[in-house]
């Protein structure tokens, strides 16, 4: 079966005065029909730019520097801009981080939800309004008829984000791109909004590509993950596999820096150093300078993202020279931390 969305070797550049910053360096990913996929990475790893690039909506100086986007197996990258925009927006919609700026401040929220059905899907005014009220109910807004007439500033952050989700759903998309949808919310509201997204995935069979820096958020909603570092995907696979047995030192370090109530540790691991400067050419693995297991080979040659040997069932990829020793990382770090103590 052809997947809903395929992205191959996506590159994004940011022109600077003296150089160009290679922000996304060959990202490939796949989202199947009805599948929830997570894209995690720290800020600046290029995850949001990758998302915008595949939609063809990069902010002004940023440039699409190559790559192909396939929708239902059809390459849309070569299509004329208008046609591509239409194809992409017919299939996908998007949820943003800040629900206050993502809503038009001078338009009633109900009208904003009803707008796409009215203007794009050709429904009548009353049908469109009925759709809007129905969607507001679906995303868990109490008393939707009354809230229909509210303005964005009159609603709480959680309610606004639900409105954004309803707007995203109003075009009947098959895939929702969510760019840090819960980052601006506090933890309880975060859980509620994630609950809404999860329910939509199950009930409406909408696929989802969730971008976040927060592993906990992604793990609540997604079944498969891509981990990005310095503009590249360094590891991908099923959530359960990634969490139980990371095959890239970056994923490993990320997981060790998140508190886990089931496995108490004395100290959380921090990742020393900073991500590399992407405006300069890199040699070797981009994570090598911060990697506790880096060897000379890591510093000299960049490992490609390859299938992990011995992965059972689900496909699993990692870009590391030392995948084979992955099961010994935990012990090594433990010993190191004890020595430092």
């Amino acid at each position: 079966m052809t997947p809903l969305l395929e992205v191959h070797d996506l590159h994004v550049d940011i022109p600077l005065s003296h150089a160009r910053l290679h922000a996304v360096r060959g990202v490939s990913l796949v989202v199947g029909t009805g599948e929830a996929v997570g894209l995690v990475g720290e800020s600046g790893s290029g995850k949001s730019l990758a998302l915008r690039a595949l939609l063809g909506m990069l902010p002004v100086p940023v440039r699409f520097a190559g790559g192909t986007v396939l929708l239902d197996g059809e390459d849309v990258t070569g299509l004329p801009a208008k046609q591509r925009h239409r194809k992409l927006t017919d299939a996908m919609s998007m949820i943003f981080q800040d629900s206050l700026t993502a809503l038009n401040p001078v338009m009633r929220v109900g009208d904003q939800i009803a707008e796409a059905p009215l203007r794009k899907l050709g429904k009548s005014r009353s049908e469109a309004n009925a759709i809007a009220v129905d969607l507001m109910g679906k995303v868990g807004i109490p008393d939707p008829e009354r809230r229909f007439r509210s303005y964005p500033h009159e609603l709480s952050g959680g309610m606004r984000q639900r409105i954004c989700i309803a707007i995203a759903l109003s075009t009947k998309p098959r895939l929702i791109l969510a760019d840090e949808p819960t980052t601006a919310l506090d933890v309880t509201i975060q859980a509620q909004v994630l609950g809404v997204l999860r329910r939509l995935k199950e009930e409406e069979h909408v696929a989802m590509l969730l971008v976040s820096h927060d592993l906990a958020v992604v793990s609540q909603a997604c079944s498969r993950l891509y981990v990005m570092y310095a503009g590249k995907v360094v590891e991908s696979g099923r959530l359960v596999d990634l969490v139980s047995a990371p095959k890239h030192p970056y994923t490993f370090s990320l997981l060790r820096s998140v508190p886990d109530p089931d496995h108490r540790v004395d100290r959380l691991l921090t990742i020393d150093g900073q991500p590399p400067d992407l405006s300069e050419p890199l040699t070797g693995c981009s994570f090598a300078p911060r990697c506790p297991f880096a060897t000379d080979r890591c510093r000299g040659e960049d490992p490609a993202l390859e299938h992990v040997e011995g992965a059972v069932g689900a496909p699993r990829q990692s870009a590391c020279w030392h995948v084979d020793s992955a099961d010994r990382w935990a012990k090594g770090v433990q010993a190191e931390m004890e020595r430092q103590h």
Binding site: M57, M92, N104, A116
Partner: protein, 294 residues
């Protein structure tokens, strides 16, 4: 020992007056400039509208043996001009002419300029470059000089005034709106509208325009003042509303010849210009304040 009195108990709800809703607090704060400006302007507009009720003189009726009457003369509260026409009546009917021309002359630059600015800001690229060049060229000339030159070529009259002011005035609106659109189009709501796949005209008019137009509205208030001054100036130079139609600019110009002996002939219509300008400037201030409070 009695229990100490606690100033604030977190478990007790605060006194009702601590919990005054924010909206009520806001409502109590008066927007003085807006109220003053609107009051003054409506008063002027009302006087202009009710001109026939406030005087029984005809503003163009000459009466040469009653010329040069000083203000306070019987039957002529503000006196008469060199041709014996009642100054009060001319002032009232002149308000009708000048105000309507000024307001109308601002509408088309406002609409045209805002739309051009919207298009330039949104599409960018060569469209923006061309529009930007045209704006630069128009701005390179002083406003009044260009208006006078244009009216001079087309001949005096209200149509020439409308055309000239539209041709010159749109650039200000285009610049204001363009700058605002450049900011607004990077906002997530603009991107959200694009991802929804809405038609471009719809995104521009429904999502961007309402969010960028406020600055243009504020400017239009002071622009009415500028336009009023331009019309008065044209009248003063003999390029405005052709006589005998009453107009403040023509009145100032006619009084100028007698400025040393009869100062009030130019001063009275001059004061009318100042008051009208003041009321519009106050309204503009008030709108800014209201917008900032939101």
């Amino acid at each position: 020992m009695s229990a100490p009195t606690v100033a604030f108990d977190p478990l007790e709800p605060p006194e009702p007056d601590v919990l005054v809703p924010r909206r009520r607090l806001r409502g109590r704060r008066r927007n003085t400039p807006l109220v003053a400006g609107l009051t003054l302007f409506s008063l002027i507009a009302l006087v202009a509208l009710c001109a026939p009720l406030l005087t029984n003189h005809d503003p163009i009726q000459q009466s040469l043996n009653e010329a040069f009457l000083a203000p306070g003369a019987a039957g002529h509260p503000l006196g008469t001009d060199a041709l014996g026409r009642d100054v009060w009546a001319r002032l009232l009917y002149g308000a009708r002419v000048d105000l309507s021309v000024a307001v109308l002359a601002v509408v088309s630059p406002f609409v045209i300029g805002s739309l051009i600015g919207l298009v330039a800001g949104w599409f960018g690229g060569w469209i923006d470059t061309i529009i930007g060049r045209v704006i630069d060229v128009v701005i390179a000339f002083p406003f009044l000089v260009l208006i006078i030159a244009l009216v001079f070529t087309m001949g005096p009259g209200t149509t020439s005034i409308y055309v000239a002011i539209t041709l010159v005035g749109w650039v200000a609106y285009a610049r204001i709106v363009r700058a605002q659109v450049l900011v607004a189009k990077e906002q997530e709501y603009a991107m959200a509208a694009r991802v929804s796949g809405l038609p471009t005209w719809r995104i521009l008019l429904r999502h961007l325009m309402p969010n960028v137009v406020l600055q243009a509205i504020v400017f239009s208030m002071s622009d009415i003042v500028l336009t009023l001054l331009a019309i008065v100036t044209l009248g003063f130079l003999g390029l405005g509303v052709p006589p005998p139609t009453p107009d403040w600019g023509t009145m100032i110009q006619e009084g100028q010849q007698f400025i040393l002996s009869k100062w009030y002939m130019s001063t009275i219509p001059g004061l009318a210009v100042v008051l009208t300008g003041l009321s519009l400037a106050l309204i503009a201030d008030g709108i800014v304040e209201k917008a900032n409070r939101r």
